[in-house]
Symmetry: C2
């Protein structure tokens, strides 16, 4: 594998069966818009989607979900009247490659067609979205026939894109103004204007014919007498905009693009990409598959990270509307570690999204009769919960199935508190606490105070009736993961109050007064002491996942599969196959053992890993990385490696669950992507940011000859290079303070520019 191939994801030949998978694999994005990796001639049936970050809509009683904008990268070619398309059976594909260059998030296709009349035609396109000016994207098309022919080339904005619970756009209007075409529409729920604009240039310049193709599309058609071997080229600038003044904004963006031109605009975007990669890349030598998977994972995170607190990263990124475009705990637990370590500005935006949506979480807590903040299972623009009470469809009856994701997965408030506190710890940014972060933490703790029950005769608090990470067991009591997370939240609340006292004592006093938190502080301290913690069994070391878990039927995953009666039947819910057994969907206790690794002995980790791993379906993409992390932490290197590969290549191989009950759940998996980073850096390199010092405890997979990455702690940057038998940490010379490191038991402060071997 050369340098190039570790940065390019590429496929050769066209396979109609891979269209959905490739749509996710070859995605591009800039945090504001995600464009699926579909070909230029694709439309709704091929799951074309330009998913807008932070814009949601609801049609009638259907699920509220992100809006897919009309697709400005639509291209339709005919050659002497015959369609030129991979979808046209009369048109032969002689050669075809599709790729994405992860260095700058540029999608490319290069296809050689032969029409039924025998004309051979090469079609090349590239497209990208600007990271510099996030409302903009651009594409370039090159068409080269092998003989003279009459080409029609239609470049358009196609409103007929993929929708799960749409169509979301209505009242389409098309305009042309100074050769900038705009397609304007309104969302259903709140009539928010959504505008996509295009400016098309033919090289050499010549005007096309502007036309409406259908009521929700707009195309610019060029009729060309093409010459043999000569290339017709087109450049397009596209702008996405929504909200007030959307049309003006889109037109202005196109004008900016036209003014600076394609190459300059691409250069500006690439420069930002270069800076991102410089800090975020993880280099793996000796293992091409791992390297490509690793980069693709990081890429998938970087293309979906918003630069604003108006949005966060949905569970399927910007790859469509699956899971309602909801922001899950995935972001806080599985993605933020990557951003905190390598892109603190982006992690700040992600954390502030939760601060901004605090009132939504307060509304949800109140809805359930509690105080404080109960963060949504599926959060959208306002923080209100998009998750329905009926989130799975039964395959036997086709009826919606009552599920308790929304009501009972209370750990999400702990995940948010933990993430805010970790961000503060990682960046030292007091602003995040002062600007609402401390308030969120206190409100999350308050929610748990208000949620918990006290068992007088056991003199302990219990957390009842919850769903832990393993969703196959709903409404359980004292889920170990949840209880530990709740205690962590309570401790963080105390820590945050103490930190505020140091940062700004009067702010601290005012906040406690404003939140009327005095009594809760008393309760909080009592609850920290008395909260029930499911403990490892003294003989076996096993921590029961929840009260009564070990009494459930103990059956293997494969044995359970034999009981399946119908494809895609849901294993959880009231009467799912797994519900009454010890088979779990995903890491639960194991994830806890990663998150709170310091608090459990290695034997306990090993015993529980063995126990739960053999009972785990890995029915969630969040599962593999947790297993890899705990395996790596306890010396299970090769087992860790297998799980690492699963999580790192998930969006390359497309090997993930595609249906939950009757619902499609395909797309990209940013949590698994973040998990891959965690396994490489926190697992194999053994990086851990403690309170006082940073620990590195490397244990590379056999294949790996080198692991190189960078990270920051409180604005001090470090480069790490690990080879078998050696680890070199280099402090950036621009650093401003020494930082204590411990490697292989030896501790030492590392000053700016210093190197530690």
């Amino acid at each position: 594998m050369n340098e190039y191939s570790s940065w390019i994801v590429e496929t050769e030949g066209f396979d109609a069966g891979e269209v959905a998978k490739n749509g996710s694999k070859f995605m591009i994005g800039n945090g504001a818009v995600g464009v699926r990796g579909t070909l230029d001639e694709f439309s709704r049936e091929q799951l074309v989607a330009c998913t807008l970050s932070g814009l949601y809509d609801k049609v009638g009683d259907l699920w509220r979900e992100p809006v897919n904008a009309p697709n400005p990268f639509f291209l339709r070619i005919t050659c002497d009247g015959a369609p030129v398309s991979v979808l046209d059976s009369a048109c032969t594909v002689l050669r075809h490659t599709q790729s994405v260059d992860m260095r700058g998030a540029v999608h490319a296709r290069d296809t050689v067609f032969q029409t039924s009349a025998g004309i051979v035609l090469r079609v090349q396109s590239e497209r990208w979205l600007s990271l510099d000016d996030t409302s903009l994207g651009a594409s370039r098309i090159r068409i080269t026939p092998d003989r003279p022919c009459k080409l029609t080339v239609e470049l358009g904005i196609d409103g007929d894109t993929w929708d799960l619970n749409g169509p979301h756009l209505t009242h389409f209007q098309a305009h042309e103004e100074d050769e900038i075409d705009t397609l304007c529409a309104l969302t259903h729920e709140n009539a928010i204007p959504v505008v996509v604009a295009q400016a098309v240039q033919r090289d050499p310049h010549s005007p096309g014919v502007f036309s409406f193709n259908a009521e929700n599309s707009i195309v610019r058609r060029f009729d060309i007498e093409a010459m043999a071997g000569h290339t017709c080229s087109f450049t397009k600038f596209a702008a996405f905009s929504f909200g007030q003044n959307a049309r003006q904004d889109a037109v202005a963006a196109c004008r900016r693009a036209l003014a600076i031109g394609y190459d300059t605009m691409l250069g500006a975007s690439r420069a930002i990409w270069d800076r991102r990669w410089a800090n975020s890349d993880v280099q793996i030598d000796g293992d091409a598959v791992a390297q490509l998977g690793m980069r693709h994972s990081i890429y998938n995170l970087l293309i979906v990270a918003p630069q604003t607190d108006r949005a966060s990263i949905p569970a399927r990124g910007l790859s469509g509307q699956v899971y309602k475009g909801g922001i899950f705990w995935d972001t806080e637990i599985f993605m933020l570690p990557f951003f905190d370590h390598t892109q603190p500005a982006l992690s700040g935006a992600l954390v502030r999204y939760r601060i901004r949506t605090l009132d939504g979480a307060r509304r949800k807590a109140a809805e359930y009769g509690c105080r404080g903040a109960f963060y949504a299972w599926e959060s959208q623009d306002t923080g209100d919960d998009a998750c329905t009470h009926f989130n799975v469809t039964d395959v036997f009856t086709q009826r919606p199935m009552r599920t308790y994701f929304r009501d009972k997965q209370i750990h999400v408030s702990a995940d948010v508190a933990l993430a805010i506190w970790r961000h503060y710890h990682m960046t030292g940014d007091a602003g995040v606490l002062l600007d609402g972060g401390a308030e969120v933490i206190l409100e999350c703790a308050r929610f748990f105070i208000s949620y918990a029950w006290y068992k007088p005769e056991k003199d302990r608090y219990e957390i009842l009736d919850v769903v832990g990470p393993d969703e196959y067991h709903e409404r359980v009591n004292n889920n170990a993961f949840t209880n530990v997370m709740v205690r962590a939240t309570l401790r963080i609340a105390l820590d945050a109050i103490n930190a505020l006292g140091e940062i700004d004592a009067s702010f601290q006093a005012k906040l406690i007064k404003r939140l009327d938190y005095e009594d809760d502080l008393v309760r909080l301290r009592d609850m920290i002491d008395k909260l029930h913690m499911p403990a490892p069994d003294k003989v076996t070391g096993i921590i029961p996942q929840f009260d009564g878990y070990l009494k459930l039927e103990d059956i293997g995953v494969d044995e359970l599969k034999k009981r399946i009666l119908k494809q895609h039947e849901y294993w959880g819910g009231g009467h799912g196959l797994a519900t009454t057994t010890q088979v779990i969907k995903q890491a639960d206790v194991v994830l806890m053992l990663h998150l709170f690794g310091d608090e459990y002995a290695d034997e306990v980790k090993r015993a529980n890993w063995e126990y739960y791993e053999s009972r785990c379906e890995h029915g969630s993409s969040l599962s593999a990385c947790a297993h890899a992390l705990v395996a790596a932490a306890t010396g299970g290197g090769e087992r860790a490696y297998d799980y690492f590969l699963r999580t790192a290549t998930i969006d390359l191989t497309g090997e993930s669950k595609q249906f939950l009950g009757a619902h499609y759940i395909g797309g990209t998996h940013p949590a698994a992507n973040g998990g891959a980073w965690m396994v490489a850096v926190q697992g194999f390199a053994g990086l851990r940011i403690g309170r006082e010092h940073i620990i590195l405890n490397p244990s590379l997979p056999k294949k790996w000859s080198k692991l190189v990455f960078r990270f920051q702690w409180r604005c001090q940057w470090f480069s790490v290079c690990i080879t078998p038998g050696q680890a070199i940490i280099t402090a950036d010379s621009a650093n401003t303070a020494p930082v204590a490191f411990c490697v292989a038991g030896k501790c030492r402060a590392l000053s700016p520019g210093e190197k530690l071997s």
Copy 2:
């Protein structure tokens, strides 16, 4: 309707479609054995069952259920070689009646057949079980041909009877000794001997041919040259016995029967029946249907009441093995009021069954991590819970469905405590408290102390995660019925301790010490004050059935029925049709309003009756009577009457639910029968036994010209005769003390022999 017809349940003509229903309608029993109302020639397919009270068996992994003994009332007749049977299509039924005389529980059939050869043959039989010597039964057969013919008459003990989860008997052995035939077998689980014996007499006496018909049966065959118009008669004595010495016991019983003879034995049984009816009968004039239903209800209770604490009354009486022959809360809440008021000796035995099985309830509490006594949802001989975790079979997948009847229907411990306390109050029998009743009450209260959680910020105890009477909503919090019942239990525990102090202070002190109850007394007092009681809404008066009930989808029962996809689909469980709606299976809040009628204003009762009645499926036979009672108490006379008729005629019309999921649930309905008595006496007559005095507040249905009944309070007996505008209460002259009565607001003590108008 004449006097006769109000005591005889009768049907004319044979209808094969009614066989199952008639089996329940024409049952006979003596508390030790129940024999279904099947015809003499019937066998397994026609659901023949002689169900033994208190004997249970389990085969392999199947459900544990009562044992049906071999049927000693089996009869097979041929006439010139042709079968004489309602089941033989070649044999015409010219006339047929089947009846039961409720005065003495005598089953009779009278059928005129015509064989294919044209011979007309009348077959008459009667059978009954002795209430005087409960291991005995007897039958008499009369066969009269219209012309000379060759008859074979086989009288046998048929082991091929109805079983749900059998066959339960194995190792059959047949014996003959002094013309007494015994069929002995062993149960599967514990190899308990079960013996049925017969002694057959032909009149005039002549020996038959003894033979084994099959390996699990025994018959005595008589070959007869019959004469025209002459009647061949047979008398049979049958004995049922199980346990050690079962064979000797059965033979001895037959010998006793042979010694005293048919008529004397019947007379002794009838004498007891007469005494029972004298105190238990409810006479209704002006409404023949109500009168017959009322008597049939009382009859159904009297035939199944055991005279020993070894058993209690199962939910389907002794009509087979449905519901595993389990004793449910039905007995305590719906049947005991009848027995307490009219048959205190029988109610004493029923109450002592719960005392005897206390250790089973303790084991169940411990199984769920609690202290005290958690009585079984389906109690059998030991008090251990026969209810499985999978008590319904899903009609869509044929999979067993996880249900929470066993785990969460905790109110059964309250029902037991309430029943013991009521029995003590009704009889004044301190023995029941001293012999374990007080211990049961304290242990039930302790279970609730141990089960409850405290919510610090609301300063209240809550009862979480329960199933109330309405089983369609599982795992709910603060079910109003349950919470009120729990508080009642706690109060009863205090009352019982006080009562013990008065009865025997040293016993009281020893019991508290032995049970280590000092700390629990403190907790108990705290919990009485602070237990959360769902209160009526200030505007609407509605009491929410449980936390969040009023937020569920509000849909009518008929509307809901339109969503049914498959016959017998279960409406409850994880994803049942009713689970996510306000549709309930049966009276829940409404039942509470009856049981604690003094604590709620009439407007609250009316508002909740209206609200819940319109959302109630009445999918349980316990529902109609509760609705009738609350309607009667709040002046809803005619509505009460409709529900009264439903509950009073349930086993006459056979109009009840026959399937729960895929399980058959037919049989008799003693709880509904007890409910009918409650509606007549506590509803229409308005009888209420207060702490200080007895209240009568009559309000008869329009049709009724007279309502007459008797009841006792602390061994003082009273007759009540209510006519429109007048009520006469007569104290028995054998009474020993005056008792205070309040009728229409006027209160007065009634001395022995006195009459109050």
